[in-house]
Subunit: 295 residues, 2 copies
């Protein structure tokens, strides 16, 4: 790619905003990455003028527009940083307005449906799925940080039609944000993240809702660091999570069943005061969890 | 109580060690608490000579012994900081050797069985249940910290036989550690902590075990901050947790059922792609969890 290309970010929330800030930082203070791989200009497409103006004033983006067609038309790289089902809805319009050869990448947390929709984009476009494995229980540009992706896995799901150049571009952008790119099949991705992200979210929601449904203030008054950490992700943005769950239903339902089987085993061992069985189940978890030193 | 009293801590792990360090700090740099309420001398009873010597060298305790009878006999206050079932086993022996009028307190995470056992102590002793609401997924004196209790709730469960003086002593010690004392009935305590501590532990164990049982390395390679926090407590000490669960069975089983009902509701809404129902369930959790600012 020639130097001085334009990158368009659609949706300037936590993810899109952090992506813009991370690229800016890479351009300015990073370890001299290949400059041809970094955008000279970043344009944001969004709905909230106040947020977009703030981002521009902060130097995160050079320009912004409410007009998806206009923003996309001037960019060699388009990053869709909207909730998953918004991305699915916008992809056809992006396809109609994107420049020939443009790299189209997203930052959504489920990949199979998005990669399927990307496969239907017009010929000549270069789509690839993306998923930065990070996040916070807060949302919006105000929470965006240049270091959000630093050291985190960033899944890249190439399509059969993704060109080697497109993949190379995507990897360079991911590395510029400080993330560790990991290439993965979209279906394998969705199964894996259902286990370690979507299922824990469901469990956190159920923990909070179980206490809520009991209608007694006592448990809340006792909640301490264990409850705080175990339920942190239950405060995640609801619309974002709805999109993820509804576009990854089969895998999430499978993991909820696997989880339920484990809860049943624990319930049975405790109900029967089967100390040896209970010790065995708790010990597997302790050993496995203690071994995740890299987390 | 006259100044210069001796406090005996039985079990110098994370909790007992932190209790000793916190009292030491209160004596030295605290906001001038009533000195009569603080021990002049701290004696530890434990099994591991290396750990006990380290604690003495660090100034956490003044002396130590392997001999429970000897340690207890010289103390006006005895703090049982052992796993719950060890405390239940040791209480009769403590009762045989404790000085007349001695305050007997514990630091265990379930209270109904311990308070029942304390009720059977010989006349003339002054028992009270205690539970500092804090902890880490690590254990042992090496992990002990003077600030472990700072700002945390510290439940005190008085027995019908607890004297006003005994309760006052217990509250003074708790305040000296920097914790916020909260007086609670033992059965209410056990029900409340089952909801916000023992149930989340079971869920964390089941999350880790579900991934483990699937026998695939992919999910582990994707685990990020959400999985890390949601499962942190699964690394807790197994013997400690076994004691807690087995002495709080009924309440934990009740909360596991309440949790299972919530998981079922989520499963049903997702399986039926009932977006409105799913949104409602997720929104309750988000609102409730976001409101826990004090956590």
């Amino acid at each position: 790619m020639e130097p001085g290309f334009t990158l368009c970010i659609v949706g300037l929330g936590l993810m899109g905003g952090s992506f813009a800030l991370a690229l800016r930082q890479a351009c300015q203070i990073g370890p001299a990455p290949d400059r041809r791989m970094l955008p000279a200009r970043i344009v944001a497409v969004g709905r909230n003028a106040a947020v977009l103006s703030t981002a521009q004033a902060a130097g995160a983006v050079d320009a912004w527009t409410h007009d998806l067609a206009a923003g996309v038309a001037e960019a060699e790289v388009v990053i869709l940083a909207t909730p998953v089902r918004t991305t699915l809805r916008l992809l056809p319009e992006v396809g109609r307005h994107a420049r020939a050869g443009a790299l189209i990448m997203d930052l959504g947390s489920s990949k199979a449906e998005i990669c399927a929709a990307m496969a239907a984009l017009p010929e000549g476009l270069d789509p690839v799925g993306g998923h930065p494995m990070c996040g916070k229980e807060v949302s919006g540009f105000a929470a965006a940080e240049a270091t959000l992706f630093a050291g985190r896995p960033f899944i890249i799901c190439p399509l059969p039609r993704t060109t080697p150049t497109g993949l190379e571009r995507a990897l360079a952008l991911v590395r510029a944000t400080g993330a560790r790119p990991l290439i993965l099949d979209p279906v394998a991705h969705d199964w894996g993240v259902a286990a370690i992200s979507h299922l824990p979210y469901m469990a956190a929601v159920a923990l909070v809702n179980a206490v809520d449904a009991a209608g007694d203030s006592l448990p809340w008054s006792l909640a301490s660091s264990g409850f705080r950490d175990t339920t942190r992700v239950a405060a995640s943005d609801v619309e974002m999570m709805l999109d993820i769950l509804l576009t990854n239903r089969a895998a999430v339902l499978e993991w909820m069943q696997r989880f339920s089987d484990q809860m049943d085993a624990l319930h049975r061992a405790l109900a029967e005061s089967d100390e040896e069985r209970l010790r065995a189940l708790l010990s597997v978890a302790r050993q496995r969890r203690s071994g995740l030193q890299w987390l």
